[in-house]
Symmetry: C2
Subunit: 201 residues, 2 copies
């Protein structure tokens, strides 16, 4: 199945500003993209990156479309196809295989907080809407199109990287380059008052 | 397999203080316990509740032990046995079945932030330690005992209810009484600046 990975190199992961500079955020976003591409590659083969501008030095073909995310995805959407976000550094080949093995016309991988981190679309009657409460929107769009939908119960799919506490999850569970990048840049876990907290040297 | 559900009615879910009074927290904790018991009951039969004090009006037998959690669990631990936390209102029978079907001497269901929300123990050489960074501790304890361990990749297992944003997940994904209780007590989801936020009337 063809897989599309939307990715934007323009000022990524702004909510990590409290702990990473702009150039660090750009570097870390690229490392996370690499982990996601590697997991998909090992599971089902090379995906296509969907980016608003050309990218150098990536290990997958790039489709360039500067429109907003939903419009750009819908323009490239040709069922059967999967859409997998680029900020999921906990993704493993096993997780990708499990998600793509789920049958049905629409398969949703919810993100924490009401987002959508993964979609499998096997019917022409469905289009995506990643703005706002996209989980509720995708449930509604599938229902309106008369398409049953399944939802993946995966912690690794649900964990997109938005805010500094999410980096704890990368250090605890990441199996790719992202946890190595964080450690090389001084991040580590510390137990504070019985809880795991992020610390930067 | 026998399942133990640790539960304490004494001032539960203190980090929900910003949005719930003490008596509301007690009521909501009991509703979440009911959802967890129902999911386990439907999957594998009646579990045992482990509580520091006697409980009235619960649908499962109660084992009373006032010691700290780890000591109380280790005292009752008789492999094969599963330990499942009481504040997992996203748990479904399918999730419980999937976790208990995972083979091996030790199966860990990580909680967000480095906790342990579910454990399956099939070997006498393992004991639990729920204090602090329990995910890292359980990985280490299994390794030290020479026991291979598996980890469950489940969003529903990983989502324990600590802080107000976690209630968003209950409203989005809960299938039991907990989301109904929240709605009956005035909670609802609102889209704010493209994100899903909790609102109380």
């Amino acid at each position: 199945m063809q897989v599309v990975v939307p990715y934007s190199p323009v000022d990524p992961n702004t909510r990590l500003e409290p702990v990473l500079t702009r150039s660090e955020r750009r570097a870390f976003a690229r490392v996370m993209l690499g982990d996601v591409l590697a997991a998909i590659e090992a599971a089902v083969g090379t995906p296509t990156i969907l980016s608003p501008e050309p990218l150098d030095g990536v290990s997958a073909p790039v489709s360039v479309d500067a429109r907003p995310l939903s419009a750009a995805v819908n323009a490239i959407l040709q069922p059967p196809m999967a859409v997998i976000m680029a900020d999921l550094p906990l993704l493993t080949p096993t997780t990708v295989e499990r998600a793509l093995a789920e049958s049905g016309p629409v398969v949703i991988g919810p993100g924490r907080g009401g987002g959508t981190n993964l979609l499998v679309v096997r019917d022409d009657g469905f289009s995506v809407d990643f703005h706002g409460n996209s989980l509720a929107d995708h449930r509604r769009l599938a229902t309106e199109a008369g398409l049953p939908f399944a939802e993946i119960d995966s912690y690794r799919v649900s964990t997109d990287i938005d805010e500094p506490p999410d980096l704890v999850e990368v250090l605890l569970h990441g199996e790719g380059e992202a946890p190595e990048w964080l450690r090389a840049n001084g991040f580590e876990l510390r137990i504070t008052a019985g809880r795991v907290a992020l610390h930067r040297q």
